[in-house]
């Protein structure tokens, strides 16, 4: 009975929401008449003022950088909440819970793949302003490499304190760069370094610096999350 009522309600909701989106149309320009949308201004300012090739990077770090600061905080809070909810006193802490050891292919292959994965992740977040990618994407790739090593070897450890220190330092870099902009420029997160030319590695002012800090932070946090959950015995 309950399933029937739920399906009915969802069908009604789905009908109304899809009617709205079909009306909007896919691929058309669906803004109402007479509005100059914000995205044209973004596309123009990216090339002329900021000299950053990847528009999405310049939006995420510079135009809407406050949202990125909030998002980095959400990740930090998620790791803190995870540690707080799963807290166990010293004498109850367990070791790794291992069901069965990994096979020969996994153990030998992961040793070869791990440096390559870390290199790919570092490349992605260093070149975030020139090609598709950025801090978040690169950090996740590096964390995947650590996950592979943690699954393959039982005694592979990452220092918990080291991860915490990297995370805090990267966060302080981001907020500190913003405060520096406030003190010397006039507004929070303003660009105060000289912008180079388009498509150079050192273009865009503070944008690559912030994105590299974000890359380190995301890699450290995701590895910390995997590590905390893997040590849950019982």
């Amino acid at each position: 009975m309950k399933k029937f009522v739920v399906i009915l309600l969802l069908a009604v909701m789905g009908y109304y929401i899809s009617a709205i989106f079909f009306d909007i149309g896919f691929g058309n320009s669906h803004l109402v008449e007479g509005i100059s949308p914000v995205k044209d201004a973004y596309l123009e300012e990216t090339v002329n003022t900021l000299s950053v090739a990847n528009t999405v990077t310049s939006i995420v770090v510079n135009f809407r950088g406050f949202d990125t600061l909030g998002e980095v905080t959400v990740l930090f809070l998620a790791v803190t909440a995870l540690g707080s909810i799963l807290y166990k006193k010293r004498h109850q802490a367990g070791d790794r819970s291992v069901l069965f050891s990994a096979s020969k292919i996994v153990t030998s292959g992961s040793k070869l793949l791990f440096p390559a994965i870390v290199l790919l992740g570092a490349y992605v977040f260093i070149h975030g302003h020139l090609s598709p990618g950025g801090g978040f994407q690169g950090g996740v790739i590096i964390a995947t490499g650590f996950l592979l090593m943690l699954l393959a070897y039982e005694n592979f450890t990452v220092g918990h304190n080291a991860l915490s220190v990297i995370e805090s330092l990267a966060g302080i870099t981001f907020a500190g760069v913003g405060m520096w902009g406030l003190i010397y420029g006039g507004s929070f997160l303003e660009n105060f370094l000289p912008v180079g030319t388009l498509n150079d590695l050192f273009s865009g002012g503070v944008i690559p610096i912030i994105y590299i800090a974000v890359g380190f932070k995301v890699a450290a946090e995701l590895t910390g999350v995997i590590y905390t959950v893997l040590h849950e015995k019982g």
Partner: protein, 124 residues
């Protein structure tokens, strides 16, 4: 020919995204196992991100990246704002899923079951 293909894509993409959201909502409301509820919440997030990216597409558009050699033959660029919003939304969805799974682990520690009917201690 191209027009009917686009009509199909039009209904197809938005319809698929809304269907994914509805499947996730059904799972979150009806299922009785804690792990399935958390997976349904994650499915809802995926559906919403898909819908958000689909809004930004423009016909015949290309990625909003000014690679070398772009300025010689400029084309229409798709909307970069929904892509930036989706970046933020994916990370936030990951954070909430991580907290939800840790709560499931703690509930399992105490009650040794994942079935929601046996955990209802807090009533009216």
């Amino acid at each position: 020919m191209e027009d009917t293909l686009f009509k199909l894509l039009d209904y197809g993409i938005y319809g698929t995204a809304v269907l994914v959201i509805l499947v996730g909502l059904y799972g979150a409301l009806v299922k009785r196992s804690l792990l399935k509820i958390v997976i349904s919440l994650s499915v809802i997030d995926s559906g919403i991100n898909l819908l958000l990216v689909a809004i930004g597409y423009l016909k015949g558009g290309t990625a909003p990246i000014f690679s070398p050699g772009y300025l010689e033959n400029p084309k229409v660029m798709v909307d970069p704002i929904p892509q930036a919003l989706v970046l933020t939304a994916i990370v936030i969805g990951f954070g909430v899923t991580a907290v939800a799974l840790s709560l499931v682990i703690r509930l399992y520690r105490h009650h040794h079951t994942l079935h929601i009917d046996e955990i209802k201690n807090l009533k009216w």
